[in-house]
C-alpha cells in the first residue's frame, strides 16, 4: 500500500528510477518536496517539453528518468514524446497531475481533463490512473512496460491520491 509521497518515492527508487525533473504541480507538490529532500534530487525545468528533453539525455547517459508535470503541460510535450521518445525508443515515466478529472476543476482544466487519457493512448503511450493505495503497484506496472518496450508510460495522479 502506497499512499504517501514518501512511499511513492520509495516505490520509484525501488524500481530503479534515479533521475527526476519536471515542472511543478500542486497535485505533486508533496512528491517534489520529498524528492528535493532526498539525495536523488529534483531538477526544475522551465517548460514540460524541456523536462522531457532533459530526461531523454539522462536516459542516454544511463539513468532511469521520470518527469513530473501537470496535465496542462502534456500539450507542450506531444512533439517531444512523438518525434523523440517514441521513435528513438527513449523511455520515460511521466508522473502527471490529473487536473480537471470528471470536470470538477477550474475552467482552464476542463478540456485537457476530459481528453488527456485518450490523447496519450491515441499516440501510443500506455496510461495508468491509480487510485489511493495503488500508486506503488502502478509504478511497478509502468516499470514493467518501460523495461519491456522502451517507451514512455504515463501515471495520471488525481487530487488526493498522493
Amino acid at each position: 500500500m502506497v499512499e504517501t509521497a514518501e512511499g511513492c518515492l520509495e516505490a520509484l527508487k525501488g524500481r530503479g528510477f534515479n533521475f527526476f525533473c519536471g515542472v511543478a504541480d500542486s497535485t505533486l507538490a508533496s512528491l517534489i518536496e520529498e524528492l528535493s529532500r532526498d539525495p536523488v534530487g529534483y531538477v526544475p525545468a522551465t517548460r514540460e517539453d524541456l523536462a522531457v528533453g532533459m530526461a531523454a539525455g539522462a536516459f542516454l547517459a544511463g539513468r532511469r528518468p521520470a518527469v513530473l508535470m501537470q496535465n496542462s503541460g502534456l500539450g507542450y510535450c506531444l512533439n517531444a514524446l512523438t518525434s523523440l521518445n517514441l521513435i528513438y525508443k527513449i523511455p520515460v515515466l511521466l508522473i502527471v497531475g490529473y487536473r480537471g478529472y470528471q470536470g470538477k476543476d477550474a475552467p482552464e482544466h476542463w478540456v485537457m481533463g476530459r481528453h488527456c487519457e485518450a490523447l496519450l493512448r491515441e499516440v501510443g503511450i500506455p496510461t495508468l490512473v491509480p487510485g489511493s493505495g495503488q500508486v506503488g503497484s502502478a509504478v511497478a506496472q509502468a516499470d514493467g512496460i518501460i523495461r519491456a518496450q522502451g517507451i514512455p508510460v504515463a501515471l495520471l495522479i488525481r487530487s488526493g491520491v498522493l
Binding site: F19, V43, G53, G57, S83
Partner: protein, 191 residues
C-alpha cells in the same frame, strides 16, 4: 563570414572524445556528412530540445564533455533551457550555436537573431564562458579557449545560409542512433 556548412564542418572536425547532440534539420545532416561517429546524436525531430538533452547528459555524466550543436531558431524555441543551464551550471557542457539568422532547413525564413544577440542572452542566463565568432580564425580560437575553461560555455558562430543542395538525410533509423550513442557513452565511461 563562413557559410553554415563551413562553420559546422570546421567545428565538427575539432571533435575528439566529446559527446555531441545535433539539433533538428540540416545541422544533423552536415555533421553526418563530415564527421559521422558513434558519439553523435542526431536529433531529427523535437526541435528546440537539443540543449535540454545536452543538459540531461551533462548532469548525469559529469566526467564526459557534452557539446550541443544548435541553431538560432532552435535556441529561440527552447529559450528556457538557457536559464536551466546557466543556473545548474554543469562545467562539462559546451553550447555551440550556428547562427545564420534563418530557419535554413525549411527555406531560409527569418528568425529574430539578427536583432537579438544570443550570446548576450547566454551571459545573462549565467553561462560561465561566452564567445562570439564571426570568422574561421575567431571560431577556432574560441574553441581552443572553451576546451580549456570551465563551463557551461556558449560559442555563438555567426554564419550565412548555404546556397545549393543540403547534405543527405540522416541514414540511421532513430532506434539505431539511440543504441549507437548509448554504447559510445558506455564505452567512454570505461576508458
Amino acid at each position: 563570414m563562413m557559410t553554415t556548412r563551413e562553420a559546422i564542418r570546421q567545428v565538427a572536425q575539432q571533435l575528439k572524445d566529446e559527446l555531441i547532440i545535433c539539433t533538428t534539420g540540416y545541422t544533423c545532416r552536415e555533421v553526418q556528412a563530415c564527421n559521422d561517429r558513434p558519439g553523435n546524436f542526431y536529433m531529427i525531430g523535437s526541435m528546440g530540445l537539443a540543449a535540454s538533452m545536452g543538459l540531461g547528459i551533462a548532469l548525469a555524466k559529469p566526467q564526459a564533455t557534452v557539446v550541443v550543436f544548435d541553431g538560432d531558431g532552435s535556441v529561440l524555441m527552447g529559450l528556457g533551457s538557457l536559464a536551466a543551464i546557466g543556473s545548474l551550471a554543469p562545467q562539462n557542457l559546451v553550447h555551440v550555436v550556428f547562427d545564420n539568422e534563418v530557419f535554413a532547413s525549411t527555406g531560409n525564413q527569418p528568425t529574430y537573431s539578427a536583432s537579438v544577440h544570443l550570446d548576450a542572452l547566454a551571459s545573462a542566463a549565467g553561462y560561465r564562458f561566452v564567445r562570439r565568432a564571426t570568422t574561421l580564425e575567431e571560431t577556432l580560437s574560441a574553441w581552443r579557449h572553451i576546451r580549456s575553461h570551465t563551463g557551461p560555455a556558449f560559442l555563438l558562430v555567426k554564419c550565412r545560409p548555404d546556397l545549393g543542395a543540403p547534405a543527405e538525410r540522416v541514414r540511421l533509423e532513430p532506434e539505431a542512433i539511440t543504441a549507437r550513442f548509448k554504447e559510445a557513452i558506455h564505452a567512454s565511461s570505461k576508458s
